[in-house]
C-alpha cells in the first residue's frame, strides 16, 4: 500500500515528527511504500542541516535523512511555509539575496501542490501534528 505522510510540527518541540518517523520505518519494514513525506507548517523546520542536538538524544533530521537515503524517500518541504520560517536551500537563498542557506540535501523544496498530489496518488494520507 502507498502512504503519504504530512508532518506539521518542528523537531523536538512536539512528538509529531518522531511518531511519523517510527510509523514510516514500520511501514517500510512491512513492505509498504512511502509515496511522499510532506513537511508543512513548522514541520519545515525538520529539514535543517544545522541542528546539533545533545549527544545522548536522537538527531531527528539525520534519522529522516538516513531513512530517506535507504529507501529513496521523496521528502518535500513546502516552499511557502519554509520561506516564512527561514528555511532555504542554496537556490532559494541565491534568488532571494540571502547570505546563507540551511536545508539538508536529503530534502527538496517544492510547492503545496505536492501535498495534494501526494493525497491523490497514495492509498492513505496520514497527518502528524499538534
Amino acid at each position: 500500500m502507498k502512504f503519504t505522510l504530512l508532518i506539521n510540527e518542528g523537531p523536538y518541540q512536539h512528538q509529531a515528527s518522531d511518531t511519523a518517523y517510527q510509523f514510516a520505518k514500520a511501514a517500510l519494514e512491512k513492505g509498504h511504500e512511502i509515496y511522499r513525506v510532506f513537511f508543512y507548517n513548522d514541520g519545515v523546520n525538520n529539514a535543517t542541516r544545522l541542528a546539533i542536538p545533545p549527544q545522548d538524544d536522537r538527531n531527528i533530521t539525520e534519522n529522516w535523512a538516513a531513512l530517506g537515503k535507504e529507501h529513496e524517500l521523496d521528502m518535500v518541504v513546502c516552499i511557502a511555509a519554509a520561506q516564512r520560517r527561514g528555511m532555504l536551500d542554496a537556490d532559494e537563498a541565491g534568488r532571494q539575496g540571502k547570505d546563507a542557506d540551511n536545508i539538508h540535501p536529503a530534502f527538496r523544496i517544492s510547492g503545496l501542490g505536492q501535498l495534494v498530489e501526494g493525497g491523490i496518488q497514495a492509498d492513505r494520507l496520514l497527518t502528524f501534528g499538534d
Binding site: 492513505r124 496520514l126 497527518t127 501534528g129
Partner: protein, 102 residues
C-alpha cells in the same frame, strides 16, 4: 470498511478526544498515540467516556507511547487493545481511511 481515527493529545488537557468520540461512527476505530495514551488509564475522570466508546467502537493505544510515560497494559481499561508501530501500520491499511484529530 470503517474509518480509523487517531488522537494524540491528553483528554485532560484538550478537547480533541471528545471531538473524536462524538464525531466518529459506530464500528469505527480509535487509536490513542503520544500524550493521548494517558486517556486509556483506569480510574480517570474520562474512563466512563472511554468505556462507553468501547461498547461500539474499537479502541487501541500505542504501547510504546504508554511505556514511555511509565505505564503498561495492566494500567489501562479493559477492552482497550495495545498495538506497536507495526500494528499502527496494519490499522491504517485495514481501515478505509484515517483521520487525525488535532
Amino acid at each position: 470498511m470503517a474509518m480509523l481515527h487517531t488522537v494524540n493529545k491528553s483528554p485532560f488537557e484538550r478537547n480533541s478526544l471528545n471531538s473524536c468520540l462524538t464525531k466518529s461512527k459506530e464500528g469505527s476505530s480509535i487509536l490513542l498515540i503520544e500524550d493521548a495514551v494517558v486517556g486509556a488509564l483506569k480510574g480517570t475522570k474520562v474512563a466512563d467516556d472511554l468505556t462507553a466508546a468501547i461498547a461500539n467502537k474499537n479502541v487501541y493505544v500505542l504501547g510504546s507511547d504508554l511505556n514511555t510515560r511509565g505505564f503498561t497494559e495492566a494500567d489501562i481499561l479493559d477492552g482497550i487493545k495495545t498495538v506497536d508501530y507495526a500494528g499502527f501500520v496494519d490499522l491504517v491499511a485495514e481501515h478505509s481511511n484515517v483521520q487525525s484529530w488535532l
